[in-house]
């Protein structure tokens, strides 16, 4: 056992990959299960705010792109759950943890999508922030998670471009369309900054995750990276970032910006956001409404298996 743990530490120290059959500390396993599961939950809950606009997408081309995007998210959910299962848990159990509120998902999805421009803003800002968070995860010390992230990030980068393109079209459209785009940025800017989690001074999970090579950069570093990437893009769109304190610092080469109101983040994480109840209720209902279907599929598979056995005998 000791030898196993020694080799775990040696792999981490050499920046190698831990694979499912390798020895690993229980804390490492638990941290990864929690993180991968919550990432998977975020993908499937995230289908709702965007799915909300499939039926109303204003052109057939946009409808097709949005359907494909939401479908991608279901796919991300699937392989993230599969990655979590390599750590010895079951997708069904993880879903139960989500449905009973014992595991969380990204609190960004507790905000409502109120206009078509929100679909653009989610792609541009939310998927943009997700990419900043997830690119370093492609080098995560746990092999299956790192490999899943490579594929997820490729698709997310396509999602981000389509979001930007939606807003670009709106910003070059009618005054009403441009106003819709600005309104979406005004509402999504602060929640997007909160996607990087609490400030470093208050982050509880960070230190150990860094030591284990699960996390590579601090929340504040990633937040800064996101702001630096996004502000020039807002300029291209001709939109105003709703932060009076925003300015470019020539010396550091970074933007100075106002920190989001973290009490709002803690509140939404606790369950007090505009859509927390709605998102979870929708998910639980889909799951419960589907119970008889899953039971039927299992019963049918059982019957088929015993028929095959019967004919073999």
């Amino acid at each position: 056992m000791l030898a196993g743990m020694d080799s775990f530490q040696a792999t981490i120290d050499a920046d190698g990959r831990i694979e499912p059959r390798d020895a690993m500390p229980e804390g490492y396993r638990k941290t990864l299960i929690r993180q991968i599961a919550q990432h998977a939950h975020s993908e499937i809950i995230g289908m709702q705010p965007e799915g909300n606009w499939i039926s109303r997408a204003p052109s057939l081309r946009r409808k097709a792109i949005l359907m494909a995007k939401v479908q991608d998210e279901a796919g991300h959910g699937l392989y993230l759950y599969a990655a979590a299962e390599t750590l010895g848990v079951d997708r069904a159990d993880l879903l139960d943890l989500l449905h009973s509120g014992r595991q969380k998902y990204s609190s960004i999805f507790n905000y409502p999508t109120l206009t078509w421009a929100d679909i653009g803003a989610i792609g541009w800002l939310v998927d943009g922030a997700a990419i900043v968070n997830q690119v370093p995860l492609c080098r995560c010390s746990y092999g299956p998670y790192a490999r899943a992230m490579v594929r997820v990030c490729k698709e997310e980068s396509f999602h981000q471009r389509q979001g930007f393109e939606i807003l670009h079209t709106l910003c070059n459209g009618t005054p009403a369309q441009k106003a819709m785009a600005q309104d979406a940025l005004d509402r999504w800017w602060w929640p997007s900054l909160m996607m990087f989690g609490p400030p470093d001074s208050a982050s509880t999970h960070s230190e150990q995750s860094m030591a284990w090579g699960i996390k590579r950069h601090s929340n504040d570093e990633l937040r800064q990276r996101f702001v630096d990437m996004t502000v020039p893009q807002a300029d291209v769109l001709g939109l105003k970032v709703p932060d009076e304190g925003l300015s470019y610092d020539e010396e550091t080469g970074h933007y100075r910006f106002t920190e989001p109101d973290y009490t709002e983040l803690y509140d939404v994480v606790k369950g007090n956001g505009p859509c927390n109840q709605q998102r979870l209720a929708h998910r639980v209902k889909a799951h419960e409404d589907g119970a008889w279907v899953r039971e039927a599929a299992a019963a049918y598979a059982g019957k088929q298996a015993s028929r095959r056995e019967g004919s073999a005998a």
Binding site: L60, L78, W116, T174, A176, A286, D289, G290, A296
Partner: protein, 246 residues
């Protein structure tokens, strides 16, 4: 109106309205794999709709795009089958509709891909492969649900029965399809459709739906009350911003 335009519109409207209903399942399916599968099927249907509506606009020659046809016609101008517009029920209802509709589309596209109209033949040639998968997906589920548990059997039977009165409309022949050389007369597809569908129903241990009153009217723009609401949702953003591009 130009026969080829109307004929193409019928097929395009079927696919568009079916896609709109299929898409409602995304993020509401019984399991994640099914969200992916129904997303795929809806995307196929929407892709067929776009090709057909683009072509319809071209044939009409009035400079109408796929979006003009999808977003700026009223319910009396839509020519889809009533089967496609009915509200979603439970998952068994969805699989019954997919079995009925995709089997019909498959037979139709198989014929149409050999027609003299190059565009229609091209669309059908691509679509026939897609709907073959839809038929297979629906078939697998009708078998699982029909021969699964008591509850799933009851629901599967209810779905098959509830939609049966909307199936004869698929095979209605009229002057237009008889006049238009490239059109497939749908009445010629009915016997084979029944053979294929009944084979699945029999294997699923469900009973064959009994002959019943059959609805009609979609091909001439007479719809159920449900289509108006479906279109209100589909069209409202586009219509709120006339002339805007997206």
């Amino acid at each position: 109106m130009n026969d080829l335009f109307v004929y193409t519109l019928r097929l395009g409207d079927d696919a568009l309205i079916a896609a709109q209903r299929t898409a409602e399942w995304i993020a509401a399916a019984p399991q994640l794999e099914e969200d992916v599968a129904l997303g795929n099927i809806g995307l196929d249907q929407l892709g067929q709709a776009r090709s057909l509506l683009q072509y319809a606009g071209q044939v009409e020659g009035a400079d109408r795009s796929e979006d003009d046809l999808a977003y700026f016609r009223d319910e009396r101008d839509f020519l889809n089958l009533q089967l496609c517009e009915l509200p979603n029920g439970d998952f068994a209802h969805a699989m019954a509709r997919l079995l009925y509709f995709a089997t019909y589309q498959h037979l139709l596209y198989e014929e149409l891909r050999g027609c003299a109209d190059e565009m229609l033949a091209g669309v059908a040639g691509k679509a026939v492969k897609e709907v073959a998968y839809h038929v297979d997906h629906a078939t697998q589920w009708v078998l699982r649900l029909g021969d699964g548990t008591e509850e799933s059997h009851r629901r599967m039977q209810a779905g098959l029965d509830a939609l049966w009165p909307y199936t004869a409309e698929m095979f209605e022949s009229d002057d237009l399809v008889r006049r238009l050389a490239v059109a497939v007369d749908p009445s010629t597809l009915q016997a084979e459709w029944e053979r294929r569908v009944m084979a699945v129903i029999d294997e699923s241990t469900c009973s064959r739906p009994v002959a019943s009153y059959q609805h009609s009217g979609g091909r001439t723009g007479r719809h159920t009350e449900h289509l108006g609401y479906l279109l209100a949702e589909l069209q409202h953003v586009a219509r709120s911003h006339p002339g805007a591009t997206w």
